[in-house]
């Protein structure tokens, strides 16, 4: 039977996440020490070699991202993305509540690699208690001297999913409306206050201490070759064990649901599973034997995304759920660009119409057209991904739509 493999969460509930000393007792801050004994260039190489890729959704190679940061500017920033807005996702909260010091250590390692002394954690407004926890954890780590010269400030979001997009997040830290910037320039070159900035997800940072302590080869050897390491998943919906798990990335989706998850709730049959949060594709049961890693998920037209696993049983009404999701995107669009501002609103309208039994085949055609243009022409990932639940269900569950038409 496939097992959990805990790296980030090995000492969950056994150590106090606020206390640096607890963390040090279980081997913490050794990674930072090792990093600081290295030349920053070699450190970046080591991170590249580990194969660590972003855990926030885009799956970009972390070391590669750091290597784009120019050396010369005095001021650079390390920013941690704790916006965690994808519905069904709470793994970053869990990592903070169980192992906050690993996040701080990871940020300090990144700071050393790119030559930055200032970090920011952007925590979503829904987690005021995590803000408190992190402030205490930072205070404690600073006091213990573990972070050295590296400072970290926590900023709190205020209810805007789009602020998880890295440039919107930067705008928000700057005190602005959370409207994504056009790219290029990328944050690595022009980020926070127009200075070079690395933005990484909580989980990405939290992997670093273990990579440094145990070596890049060790990490590269865990899970899927092209997306190594572990991944923290959160299971929601019609599932027996609605909780979180840390698994190696070559873990099969089927095992996530039927082994760790204990199967569909009440022994019902599975209709669909949506991985990666609300912007993810709906996966039909025939694709369950896919490993959860980034590339395997992409290969079936889905995405690992945030690692949320939303399970729907045979009784669920797909169109109703997609309608709800369409409303989410309409509510969360920043409103800057035309395809998304107007498109998410019209998608919601058309989905409502179909869901209420007033839709026609023409409405489905219009949805497909809108989806195509939103994906290709929107300014940021929100508008580009918003139609995925619609298109993926039109591909795999078209009959659910057809039976609701007038």
């Amino acid at each position: 039977m496939a097992q959990e493999y805990r790296v980030l969460l090995e000492y969950a509930d056994k150590i106090n996440p606020e206390k640096a000393s607890d963390y040090i007792k279980v081997g913490g801050y050794k990674g930072l020490e090792k990093a600081r004994s290295m030349n920053p260039k070699d450190l970046i190489e080591e991170v590249k070699k580990s194969g660590l890729r972003g855990r926030g959704g885009a799956g970009f190679n972390a070391g590669m991202k750091w290597s784009f940061v120019p050396q010369y500017p005095e001021t650079k920033y390390v920013v941690c993305n704790l916006d965690e807005g994808e519905p069904g996702t709470y793994k970053d909260r869990i990592i903070c509540q169980k192992n906050a010091q690993a996040l701080l250590e990871g940020m300090a390692i990144c700071g050393y690699a790119i030559g930055s002394k200032q970090g920011y954690i952007y925590c979503r407004g829904e987690y005021p208690f995590v803000v408190e926890l992190l402030k205490n954890a930072i205070g404690n780590a600073k006091e213990s001297g573990a972070l050295g010269e590296f400072d970290i400030e926590v900023r709190m979001g205020a209810g805007a999913y789009v602020c998880g997009e890295e440039t919107a997040l930067i705008e928000s830290i700057e005190g602005h409306r959370g409207e994504p910037r056009f790219k290029p320039p990328f944050p690595g070159v022009e980020g926070l206050w127009r200075m070079p900035t690395v933005v990484n997800n909580v989980e990405t940072f939290a992997c670093l201490p273990y990579i440094l302590t145990n070596g890049a080869e060790w990490f590269a050897g865990i899970g899927a070759k092209s997306y190594p390491g572990t991944k923290v998943l959160t299971l929601t919906g019609d599932i027996e064990n609605a909780t979180y798990f840390e698994v190696p990335t070559d873990y099969l989706l089927r095992d996530v649901i039927y082994e760790l998850g204990g199967g569909v709730k009440g022994g019902k049959k599975l209709k669909a599973v949506q991985v990666g949060g609300t912007s993810g594709a709906f996966i039909p049961p025939q694709n369950l034997d896919t490993p959860i890693d980034f590339d395997s998920m992409s290969a079936i037209g889905a995405a690992l995304g945030s690692g949320a696993v939303f399970v729907m049983d045979e009784t669920r009404d797909i169109v109703d759920i997609v309608n709800r999701i369409a409303k989410f995107f309409e509510h969360e669009s920043c409103g800057q660009c035309t395809p998304c501002r107007e498109g998410t609103f019209r998608c919601k309208e058309i989905m409502e119409k179909i869901n209420n039994g007033r839709g026609s085949l023409q409405d489905i055609e219009n949805l497909k057209l809108l989806a195509r243009v939103m994906m290709k022409a929107s300014l940021c990932g929100l508008g580009q991904a918003a139609p995925i639940p619609i298109t993926s269900t039109l591909t795999h569950f078209e009959y659910e739509y057809l039976r609701k038409l007038v």
Partner: protein, 148 residues
């Protein structure tokens, strides 16, 4: 009640800290009063129009008066399939208000929210950001009674 001038002054040195100031103001007032917004604009050297644009962008900030307790019903997909609609209806019935409104005694404001990251026990309601798990319609009276 702390004066908004003092609250803003205490955040003034954080670059771009206007959102932090808004959070601090809301902690005291539960919304951002007009005078406080104007003062924040001045302190952070942005136009009032921009300060207003920022305050109206974020769902958790409000420029309109709200109740002492802000109840938010999560309606994201996992909570939706777990019966959020029914809980919402019960909340509306018990409070005698619709989403977006405040009870006449100024005690409760009812809002919708997207996922609050507590999906291990859906559906979730938060009251002043404190999550309440696995809420069923029949639990509503008991929950509300706790908030005086």
């Amino acid at each position: 009640m702390a004066n908004y001038m003092d609250i803003i002054a205490s955040c003034k040195d954080k670059p771009g800290g206007i959102i932090e100031a808004y959070h601090a103001i809301q902690k005291e007032y539960n919304y951002i009063p007009q005078e406080a917004l104007k003062e924040a604009a001045r302190a952070f050297k942005v136009s009032e129009a921009q300060a207003f644009g920022v305050a109206t962008f974020y769902s958790y900030l409000s420029v309109e008066k709200r109740g002492k307790y802000i109840i938010r019903m999560c309606e994201s997909a996992p909570c939706h399939v777990a019966g959020a609609d029914e809980v919402l209806k019960t909340l509306e019935a018990h409070l005698g208000i619709k989403v977006g409104e405040t009870t006449s005694d100024g005690k409760f404001t009812l809002e919708l929210t997207e996922c609050v990251g507590q999906c291990q026990a859906t559906p979730v309601v938060t009251i002043n950001s404190e999550p309440i798990f696995g809420v069923k319609p029949e639990m509503v009276p008991e929950i509300l009674a706790k908030f005086k």
